[in-house]
Subunit: 323 residues, 2 copies
């Protein structure tokens, strides 16, 4: 009996590591999640994922064949198959993740960062199906990006391309975790919009429910809820976030002229609150030849699916090209 090929997609996060078997149409056959245990060495995580994945796959043997493994991880390097000083994992230095996995599986393995994996997920199964030029922006605790040009993921000379979150809005602007000032992600991200609210609360006199929330407790979700109830400060915060993001996305368009930009992640879930001003300001700041050409789209994948589907898409993309 012919078996159906599936890829194992693994998404390594600071808290959870999700994985699942995905066929080439993007159907998840089965999946699971374990604690990453960020303080443990990578070897332990790989061993635990392998044990659990084997258990899951056992009853599927005979019907399905595993054909490759794709991994999305922070600070992953596609060329080297490594993860290098990830910010939210206590792995030391350069970890040869692909090699660790190949210890268990004699199959093609590819790793890349989460935003690139998300971009490949959108290309194979989501909002960018059939597109050759697009950008995925993940708006979460930071701003990640994956750029696809001419149907190819842009990895750059060193495998680290796609750091749009660290393009500079204002060289004398907000302090960024990267050690510089004024990076886009200090404005356009979940923590970024919180910082904007504090600035607005300082600048303006309007009443706002957000005045009774401590900076420590404030979240982007609260800001969205307040904005939906008409809170002036919250609405102004989305307007400002959209202005800054729209301006910098116009710069990105001037680089690779994408057919679409896909916004994804926590802050993108605010829907029209963030899409409307971002689109409006992107058009405002856009060079005339690109105006009204670039779609601003929500993800075509369900939030829960994206990470694992993206990781699986990474290896499916390679296998399907080789075929």
């Amino acid at each position: 009996m012919a078996t159906i090929n599936v890829a194992l997609g693994i998404d390594i996060g600071g808290t959870n590591t999700k994985f699942g078997f995905v066929d080439k149409e993007g159907t998840r056959v089965v999946d699971s999640s374990i604690l990453t245990n960020a303080h443990e060495p990578a070897e332990n995580l790989v061993s635990r994922v392998h044990d659990e994945a084997e258990k899951m796959f056992q009853p599927l043997k005979g019907h399905y064949s595993l054909c490759g493994i794709g991994v999305g991880a922070p600070n992953a390097n596609y060329y080297r198959g490594t993860v290098e000083s990830p910010p939210n994992l206590q792995w030391k230095g350069v970890v040869h993740l692909a090699d660790l996995i190949k210890h268990y599986y004699d199959l093609p393995v590819a790793v890349t960062n989460d935003a690139n994996a998300a971009a490949l997920g959108e290309m194979l199964y989501g909002a960018a199906k059939g597109m050759k030029d697009f950008i995925v922006i993940t708006l979460g605790t930071g701003l990640g990006s994956g750029i696809v040009a001419g149907g190819n993921m842009v990895y750059g000379a060193d495998g680290f391309a796609g750091e749009i979150g660290h393009t500079i809005v204002d060289p004398e602007g907000r302090q960024c975790g990267c050690g510089r000032q004024g990076c886009l992600e200090t404005y356009a991200s979940a923590p970024g919009i919180c910082r904007t609210v504090w600035e607005l609360l300082a600048d303006r006199r309007e009443d706002s429910t957000l005045r009774s929330v401590s900076p420590h407790d404030l979240t982007a979700v609260m800001i969205a809820e307040a904005a939906n109830k008409g809170d002036v400060i919250a609405r102004a915060a989305f307007e400002y976030t959209g202005k800054v993001l729209g301006m910098k996305l116009a710069d990105s368009v001037a680089h690779t002229s994408p057919e679409a930009i896909i916004l994804f992640g926590g802050l993108a879930n605010a829907g029209a609150l963030i899409f409307e001003p971002t689109k409006r300001w992107m058009e405002e700041y856009m060079l005339n030849i690109f105006r009204n050409k670039v779609k601003l789209l929500p993800s075509g994948l369900k939030d829960a699916d994206t990470a694992v589907l993206g990781a699986a898409a990474l290896i499916w993309n390679e296998l399907l090209r080789q075929a």
Copy 2:
């Protein structure tokens, strides 16, 4: 007797149209130049280039075979083979340039803009030989750019990618010819550095030979000459140009992570005056993971050669890939 394949490279400028026959190693076998006569329709120019090229090629027949035609032209669209409302030619609307050329030659024809052609020229014959990820920046009357990622020219969804000259330095900055404000090319270009001199002459009190030149007469070459003689204002103008250019190039690096950025054209001929501050500020504004990785290089082609070699490289690049 076996013949040697050559491509016809044509560079259409506002004043002159240069063309030449180039073999696949980048040797120009023979070349020429005619007046563009920008007020005439494109048909006339193509007909005149064809006549002249035929005359040149006549004595070469038997030794050489023509295998394709590449054209560099302002506002050229690679996908459509068109030139669309070029700023310095009085061609009306959308001109199907590739089709006009195919009327004379039953051969592969490709067109692209001058900066993309320059990038392909550098990749095949110049400073980017062997590189897969690099950016060419042309600093002339404007700032043009050609981006190569993973060995492929980035054309984008519409064929107009690579407009780094129109990324925004300051949304309330200098008026740009494109109708917006604060575009990079209003600072980093030959006219841009002149504008910087006028600003500096207004702001500062130091003596400068440039105070006796009318704005109408001032050129980037004069500023370079004054800077080389130690003129404080002229030196400050290069410093400022390098700062703005370096900051925006750091943004470009965050997009495609190139191995090198090649500066080319009139202003780049100022050498260390422009390279030194640009490199220093680019590193200053660079995200840590990219720091000290990206080379800032002069063109590897002679100025006089670039346009025709680039145009020939466009078609050679296609022919060599298909082979």
